[in-house]
Amino acid sequence: MTAQEIFFIILALIAVTGALLLVLLKPISHRVVSMAFAFMAISGLYFLLGAEFIGIVQIMVYVGAITILFVFGMMMTEHRTIVFERDPRLSHQAIGLISSVSLLGLLIFGILSMDLPQTEGYVGSAEAIGLELYGYFFVAFIGSAFLLTAALIGAIVVARKEAD
């Protein structure tokens, strides 16, 4: 077992655990924290894969921005740990679980049925990414600018609390 594999296993375990806890825990604040852990672990995976730039962006955006955003969202809606009454939809839960698990099964079947060649590995760089962004994917880049503008306007309009 190589170090890479060990790192992978650790990070994967953290990510999966974080994800599961996000879904399964009761207190809302714990959930957001576990989400942050999962995001961290994922960025670790990026580093493992040699995609440092993406890893850093991951930490900045997800762990930094989005998690905080969710904390804000949590704070602005429910301050205390709310407890929902018993979920009346047991069958719904079951069907949701079955759906997810069977989809997982399908995906794993698909993944395992692939016979992918093991390549040496490609190490990207921020420069390469920048060149692509301002080169081939320029249209998409401009597009994402508009996307963010639209999202910004939309989010402000919808969330804004009028003075009155």
């Binding site: 081939y136 994917f137 939309g154």
Partner: protein
């Protein structure tokens, strides 16, 4: 790197529209929040029309910027449809916004302009990333637009439903795309298409999973069964002009990319997915029309009708993918946008004048209250039902022809039977308008200029295309849609 060597003039319409959208936003920003600003709406319409003219002027020669931005007849026609559609939506919104002052006008218009831009990018892209960005511009703007009446329970509820389900759909699309990228190392649809036969032979299951994930995600946007569940609630809750937008521009743009992706990327394995699309088309037509039968609310009814219409548009895709089938789809799209927008503008009018109710009974005796609107609505509904001398009929007839020509008789039969079933609910509305007496307290309907204009334009389009379809068909037949 092709970065700055490409023929950027191809993007002129998009660039102009982007600039104008920002201009609209800026002007709105500078003119305060609470005033009535009808000029913003007019400016938006003007922007869209200018862009449309630019599309007409600049685009016909065609060309491309890498694989990320294509200018071909397909893109051009879809862009025109989108621009005209959004312009009409804005036109019908002007009255609506005057009556609903809690909606921020400037933001509303500029976001609509952004969606137009996004949709334009979406339909003229042959690259997964660009395409996805365009799609997300439309989607995220739509989520916000659906919730724009933020003090309204229905509107926000519609919005949250839309964003949760829409976000999930996006995740599915991306998940599918990620496999596609991983197995080909490219996001260009041309290259993916070129590699597809070999790829499919090697990774059958994964390719199909990715294909179906994408189909499901796009299918969410066009509201095909079983990914249609959001549509009725969102259509019902969203502000009516936004519903019109979702039912037309958003849906058709999504059809645009379905066609693009499946034509360029998956044509070589057509046999593997055509029957799935056919089955889904059949189920979509059946479910949409059947549920619509029991609806008592016009907006919900239009939602289910829209689901059914999506099924009709899927039929050509399921039958054969060639120039001809695209002609058929585009013709139907033109017809669809005309009749649906016309119908929605009248629904806007009537519901706004009936205390914001959208029950079927608000249409009672519309003929007495406003004959022109009633007749126009009747023609739109007849067109949706596919009755003669309307654009909808020609569109459907084309689809039949195609389906039967492509040995999909069973699909054609399902289509025609469900169309007949649809008579029931479309004529239910007509019955309300013409046969029922108006409610005693129903006010005289005053038709604002914007709605009048939308109705007149769409009515003219619906009838003209119904009687002289060759105006468009001859033009379309000459196109080689995809370069």
């Amino acid at each position: 790197m092709l970065a700055f060597e490409a023929t950027w003039s191809l993007m002129t319409p998009e660039i102009v529209l982007g600039a104008l959208a920002m201009l609209v936003f800026t002007i709105d920003f500078m003119t305060g929040i609470h005033e009535k600003k009808p000029f913003i709406g007019r400016l938006s319409i003007f922007s869209l029309l200018v862009t449309a003219v630019l599309v007409l002027v600049m685009n016909p020669q065609g060309g491309q910027i890498g694989d990320t931005f294509l200018v071909d007849p397909f893109a051009m026609v879809f862009k025109l449809i989108i621009l005209v559609g959004v312009a009409l939506v804005i036109m019908m919104s002007m009255n609506y916004l005057d009556r609903n002052e809690d909606i921020y006008q400037g933001e509303y218009y500029s976001i609509l302009l952004f969606t137009a831009l996004g949709a334009m990018i979406m339909v003229s892209s042959a690259d997964l990333i660009t395409l996805f960005i365009g799609l997300e511009i439309v989607s995220i703007s739509s989520y916000a637009l659906a919730g724009f009446k933020k003090h309204n329970i229905d509107s926000t509820e519609a919005s949250i439903k839309y964003i949760v389900l829409g976000g999930t759909a996006s995740a599915f699309i991306l998940f599918g795309m990620s496999y596609l990228y991983g197995l080909t190392g490219t996001t260009s649809l041309y290259e993916i298409g070129a590699a597809m036969p070999e790829l499919f032979a090697d990774y059958t299951v994964m390719i199909m999973i990715s294909l179906l994930f994408m189909l499901g995600g796009f299918g969410f946007k066009v509201s095909m069964v079983p990914f249609h569940m959001w549509a009725p609630d969102v259509y019902y809750g969203a502000p009516t002009p936004v519903t019109a937008f979702l039912a037309t521009v958003s849906k058709l743009a999504a059809f645009g990319i379905i066609i693009r992706v499946f034509t360029l990327g998956f044509e070589s394995i057509y046999a593997e997915w055509a029957f799935i699309v056919a089955t889904i088309a059949a189920i979509t037509m059946i479910v949409g029309n059947f549920i619509a039968l029991t609806q008592q609310d016009v907006k919900r009814l239009m939602a289910y009708s829209g689901i059914a219409q999506a099924g009709y548009i899927l039929v050509p895709i399921a039958t054969v993918l060639n120039n001809f089938s695209i002609t058929v789809i585009i013709f139907y799209s033109v017809a669809y946008i005309m009749m649906t927008l016309g119908a929605f503008s009248i629904i806007t009018l009537v519901s706004e004048q009936s205390g914001r109710k959208t029950g079927m009974d608000t249409f009672a005796g519309l003929y007495q209250r406003s004959p022109y609107m009633a007749v126009a609505m009747a023609i739109f509904l007849l067109s949706l039902a596919g009755l003669p001398f309307t654009a909808g009929f020609i569109g459907k007839a084309n689809i039949f022809l195609l389906a039967i020509n492509g040995n999909m008789l069973w699909l054609a039969i399902i289509m025609i039977v469900t169309s007949i079933i649809s008579f029931y609910y479309y004529f239910g509305v007509i019955k309300q308008m013409f046969m029922a007496e108006p409610k005693p307290n129903a006010e005289e309907i005053k038709v604002p200029g914007g709605i009048q204009a939308v109705v007149t334009v769409t009515l003219a389009g619906t009838v003209l295309l119904g009687i002289l379809p060759n105006l468009l068909l001859d033009l379309f037949t000459g196109f080689n849609w995809m370069i």
